[in-house]
Amino acid sequence: MKNYIVKDLMVPISEYATVPEEATLYESVLALEKAQEQFQQSQYSHRAVLILDKNQRVVGKLSQMDFLCALEPSDANLDQIRKFKRFGFTRKAVALQQEEYLKNSPPILDVYSKAAQLKVADYMQRPTEGEYVDENASLDMALHQLTAGSNLSLLVTKDADIVGVLRLADVFAAVFHAMKESELQLSKGAAE
């Protein structure tokens, strides 16, 4: 584990799905689909799109969760219902109240066609300080950052530039393989 550094495992930004700030949600998911087809390196496919400003700098990230959240209907009442957890209700209860409120809403296909034209910039997440990791940082360090922030990926930096994405799935695979290898060696030693 100690021998790995972040850049050994990251996906280079050139292989990642990116779209400009002006892109729509639909254009974003098309870009994601394309990247998944072109750069399928492992069993874990890309799950996010990076958003670039006009200087080609990363200004945000749209995850699959952000995309699905954008499809959810929204108004002042729904915003209040989504805050019910702070009143001690479970997620199931919150979902039930949303379902009740939305039972007379338009059909889902209408919702999708409207959502496709929404601007990605309105739904992307702007990275916070804890979501950047240096390309030469140890994998242990990256692991600590991922678990502390419950992040699915980190943006990898080289000086001031973003050069790649370190995905939870790739870190998981590296850790899992290292664990498997050490277990095999231990059992081999015991047999000898």
Binding site: Q80, F84, R86, F87, G88, F89, T90, K92, A93, L96, Q97, E99, E100
Partner: protein, 473 residues
């Protein structure tokens, strides 16, 4: 009057500091809501009875038109026409049960109001917080017209008009107009107007939210104006009737009342009112052309007009019943507004529970079946079906249920039992179950009560402030 103005500024600053996380500024909400010249007009008064402790301490405060009973300390506060009723406070030696603990009360409980501004607010009951058993504190808090602080220590709060905090310790919260909260302990919440929330953690959780556009017809409160709407119009229209009971020193009972009943001399009783045995009528209650059967009660700020209560009815603080017929053992919760019409009466079947802060306002006759649980806004049969269930069916809920704007999670059986136990406790405490010997309650104990008045400085910098006053046996 300079001191009074300084005191106002001091209180507002303290409340705002507590509410800074919610980015809530109390000042525009209450600035000029009660002009300081209005605060110098009225005397304060307190009750003396053989049954309640007497220990009142007032320091650097204005108390205009407010009433005190029991053990109360008021410091650096403005109390305008508020009722601080300390007749249910715990006493030294009492045992307080909380979960598996039996906690001994070491000294008489005290209501302690500090750095607060209470407008037409009722403070009653006793603290249910095991961490502060002997100190029912209200500090750095502003409450507005007809709010109820019922067994709820509060710190750093703003309570909107007709809101209620009930058996809940409240820290740094905003409670919107006509919201009702009974949730044990809450922190740093901004609760929207018209939110009815009853939570017993790991047991049940009930929430109903009024459609704001419709609630606004009944109560609307925004910065820069006094509260408006049907509720305010209703009480303002009857304000003059209270003038006489507060102006006259010796007032005769306007109706015959049985020995076991209690009629407060600061209640308004209009003609054709019948008061049965074990009935309790609290101060600032308003009765007109109504029948109160055995064991019924009308608590503070209740209005019962052209109505019949068959007996053992609980009409909680601030509830209003107009042109209605209530079966026996009907419970009407805090600040509920039940209004039939002379030609379209409202009937509520026996043993029904009308949840706190319920509005039933009908223009066609409406019958609520016996044993119902009713909540929210009901103006016709369709809304009754959407916002009610039989108590029996509600008891069967084991997981969660959503009905319109109502969301419930947990044990419906425990929820219903909790209400029924509390109703029984209220009847007991109010003396509804008195049999001529046992089960004395407020209806019997409040009969022999004397009232004294106290007044503020009439002029100068201290105009409106009351001098330091200590009243003890």
């Amino acid at each position: 009057m300079r001191e009074l103005e300084k005191l106002f500024d001091r209180i507002i600053q303290r409340v705002n500091i507590n509410l800074r996380e919610l980015e809530y500024d109390v000042n525009p909400m209450v600035h000029d809501l009660i002009p300081t010249r209005q605060m110098t007009k009225f005397y304060a008064f307190y009750g003396i009875t053989p049954h309640h402790p007497l220990n009142l301490v007032f320091k650097h405060s204005n108390l205009s038109g407010s009433y005190f009973l029991g053990k109360v300390r008021v410091t650096n506060s403005l109390l305008y026409k508020s009722d601080i009723r300390g007749d249910e406070l715990k006493q030294s030696g009492d045992l307080f049960q909380y979960q598996d603990y039996n906690i001994q009360v070491d000294q008489d409980e005290e209501i302690s109001i500090e750095d607060s501004f209470l407008i037409k607010t009722l403070v009653h009951c006793f603290t249910h917080d095991p961490e502060t058993l002997e100190n029912f504190f209200i500090q750095d808090t502003v409450s507005t017209h007809y709010a109820n602080i019922h067994g709820s220590p509060t710190e750093g709060c703003f309570l909107g008009p007709f809101s209620t905090v009930d058996l809940t310790t409240v820290h740094d919260c905003v409670v919107g107009a006509y919201s009702y909260v009974q949730a044990g302990e809450i922190n740093h919440l901004n609760i929207d107007p018209g939110t009815i929330w009853i939570r017993n953690p790991d047991n049940f959780n009930f929430m109903y939210r009024y459609p704001l556009s419709q609630l606004n017809d009944y109560i609307y409160f925004a910065a820069g104006s006094p509260p408006q709407g049907v509720f305010m119009d209703f009480v303002e229209d009857r304000k003059e009737a209270f003038q006489r009971v507060f102006d006259v020193v010796n007032i005769e009972n306007p109706t015959n009342i049985p020995d076991s009943a209690s009629l407060d001399r600061f209640a308004v009783i209009k003609p054709k009112t019948h008061i049965g045995e074990n009935v309790l009528v609290a101060q600032r209650a308003f009765l007109q052309n109504s029948w109160l059967g055995k064991g019924a009660n009308a608590q503070e700020n209740c209005y019962i007009i052209n109505s019949r209560l068959e007996g053992n009815n609980v009409t909680a603080h601030g509830a209003k019943i107009i042109d209605a017929d209530m079966g026996t053992h009907v419970f009407v919760g805090f600040n509920s507004f039940l209004r039939g019409r002379p030609d379209a009466r409202l009937a509520i079947g026996k043993e029904s529970v009308v949840m706190p802060h319920t509005i039933i306002d009908v223009r066609k006759p409406l019958v609520v079946p016996p044993g119902s649980l009713v909540w929210g806004l009901v103006r016709n049969q369709e809304e009754l079906e959407a916002n009610s269930m039989s108590l029996k069916d509600f008891s069967k809920i084991n997981t969660r249920m959503c009905k319109g704007n109502m969301l419930f999670e947990g044990s419906g059986g425990n929820f219903v039992s909790a209400f029924q136990d509390r109703i029984h406790h209220i009847l007991e405490a109010n003396g509804a179950l008195f049999d001529g010997n046992l089960n004395r309650g407020h209806a019997q104990r409040n009969q022999n009560i004397s009232f004294n008045t106290i007044q503020p400085y009439p002029k100068g910098d201290k105009e409106g402030l009351y001098p330091t006053i200590i009243i003890q046996p």
